[in-house]
């Protein structure tokens, strides 16, 4: 009988366990998975003094409501999130980027994300989870990872096998910034598109469609005309690839993407912009801007430096 656990009172829309993901499996058709917004994932773990590659609970739009049973435990929530801690009959307003000490009987109610998609709940201690290929990340399409590869559901229990007993009150001043301009490197099939199509791609606005999930982000807007072939021989995909199928609407591959695809690649989102891209909600505006490979490498170095700096400030 496990004495420390969270019980799920409300599951939320897409609540999963995520960590750094699993590598070297594309060749058998298994994507990377892992936390969509890597910076917020790392910060959540650091706030509760976990190892940085520890599993966390990722949620989208509406998060879960969790009732706690057990010894005092630290939690932290990152992202841009409205949440509340219900203790006895009081409601404590939750603040992101701050640790909270949760007591027996408390309920963490993660009401919603604020003009963003993903948020993270880190728990100070070890969660009892199944690992597959060294990762607990849940891939709901292939049913891989913790919880039999399925989203968390109401009435389920999350068992904590070990608690970090020291109370802490870590805090970080950090505000998530939004971006509209997504920087890309031209894709390997860039020249499949008409001059007008290329111009549209860089000059017009696209909007994030509702049909977006952990696998991909579909965009709506002016159609991008293909003048060569709307299919290519199927080949590998990576996170951030922008494919344009025959209907002319771009699709950006995200962390749970299919590993092989047969649509022309017009571009690839640079690594530095990925965390912010995934946070764009349906209806958000996107404009693509071209950068050179060397600039993309420098921008990633700067982004990574900034992330490390934030981690070291906790």
């Amino acid at each position: 009988m496990n004495k420390n656990y969270f019980e799920i009172i409300r599951a939320g829309i897409n609540t999963t366990f995520q960590d750094q993901g699993r590598k070297n499996l594309y060749h058998i058709g298994i994507p990377f998975s892992g936390a969509m917004d890597n910076r917020n994932y790392l910060l959540a773990n650091k706030l509760v003094r976990n190892k940085l590659d520890h599993p966390v609970i990722e949620f989208a739009y509406q998060g879960p409501s969790l009732k706690y049973c057990g010894d005092n435990i630290n939690i932290a929530i990152t992202g841009d999130i409205n949440f509340m801690i219900k203790r006895n009959n009081n409601n404590i307003d939750g603040k992101c980027y701050q640790t909270f000490n949760i007591q027996n009987g408390d309920e963490i109610d993660i009401i919603s994300t604020n003009k963003s998609v993903y948020g993270y709940l880190a728990i100070g201690g070890e969660i009892d989870l199944k690992y597959q290929w060294s990762s607990c990340s849940i891939n709901t399409k292939a049913n891989i990872g913790a919880n039999n590869g399925k989203k968390l559901e109401i009435n389920q229990k999350i068992n904590i096998s070990k608690i970090d007993k020291d109370l802490n009150n870590n805090k970080l001043d950090y505000i998530n910034t939004k971006i509209e301009n997504i920087r890309i490197i031209k894709g390997t099939n860039f020249n499949f598109f008409s001059e007008e199509g290329k111009k549209i791609f860089f000059e017009k606005e696209f909007f994030v469609s509702k049909l977006s999930d952990r696998m991909g982000m579909r965009l709506e807007g002016p159609k991008i005309e293909n003048i060569v072939d709307t299919n290519i021989k199927s080949e590998g995909l990576i996170k951030g690839v922008i494919q344009v199928p025959a209907d002319g609407n771009p699709i950006i591959m995200l962390s749970d993407h299919g590993t092989i695809g047969g649509y022309p690649k017009i571009g690839v989102v640079i690594s530095a912009d990925y965390d912010k891209l995934v946070q764009l909600t349906p209806g958000s505006k996107i404009k693509f801007k071209e950068v050179e490979l060397s600039d993309a490498e420098t921008l990633f170095k700067l982004y990574e430096l900034e992330t490390q700096n934030l981690i070291s400030r906790i």
């Binding site: 199927s234 590998g236 990576i238």
Partner: protein, 224 residues
């Protein structure tokens, strides 16, 4: 041999082995894939071999495009004879409950279903690659007269075990998934098993596959 190495975004190499899709080119891709895999190069986090391309993704925190391109260009590649490949027979039931698109194929190919199946079951297939969804094998080559395009509107749900045809290839849906291939039957065999971490696929690139027709009774007995 690799004809050209380009960058795919800022964290992947796109190795192009030429335009053609044939066994010879694909064997070159698989040779490179296995050689790179065996060398455990620090920083590489994924290899995706396909018909005529190999994509190598890497951790941008550990290396960059130019560095990895240099390593790949100077690699020693394993000889083809050292590749270990298997022969596998896959049972398939073509009962009408499973052969969702056989009527469509009869029309497109202008063949009777008996002839379509005779051609299919007498064929030896080569596994070019696995992926899209976990463990899905892409098997070739179908005869010229057996080639049909994808469904115009893909199915939202293709049942697990479905065997499909498109252009020169056959494939098997390892679990329920959206998809647009022409479905001609279903196998009761588990092609992908995530509980076997070391060896989750039944079929790997380079393997030889044949299909064997089974009755509905045999199909159901298989899962008992």
């Amino acid at each position: 041999m690799i004809k050209n190495i380009l960058n795919l975004g800022d964290a992947a190499l796109y190795c192009d082995f030429g335009k053609d899709v044939n066994k010879e080119t694909n064997i070159q891709v698989i040779r490179y894939f296995k050689s790179i895999q065996n060398q455990n190069i620090e920083g590489i986090n994924n290899l995706t071999p396909s018909y005529n391309k190999l994509i190598i993704s890497f951790d941008l925190k550990k290396m960059n495009f130019t560095e990895l391109k240099n390593i790949i260009e100077n690699l020693t590649i394993t000889n083809i004879n050292e590749l270990k490949n298997k022969r596998i027979e896959i049972p398939v039931c073509t009962h009408e409950n499973f052969s969702l698109d056989i009527k469509r194929l009869e029309q497109i190919l202008n063949k009777r279903r008996e002839d379509i199946y005779e051609n299919f079951f007498n064929k030896e297939f080569f596994c070019y690659m696995t992926g899209f969804i976990a463990g899905m094998p892409f098997l070739g080559d179908l005869d010229e007269t057996m080639r049909a395009k994808r469904l115009e509107t893909p199915r939202v749900k293709v049942p697990k075990g479905s065997v499909g045809l498109t252009e020169q290839f056959a494939n098997i849906y390892t679990f329920e998934s959206p998809g647009g291939w022409n479905i001609i039957g279903n196998t009761p065999i588990n092609i992908f098993d995530s509980s076997k971490e070391k060896d989750p696929n039944l079929i790997y690139p380079g393997d030889t596959i044949t299909f064997k027709e089974i009755t509905k009774d045999q199909y159901h007995k298989h899962n008992e």
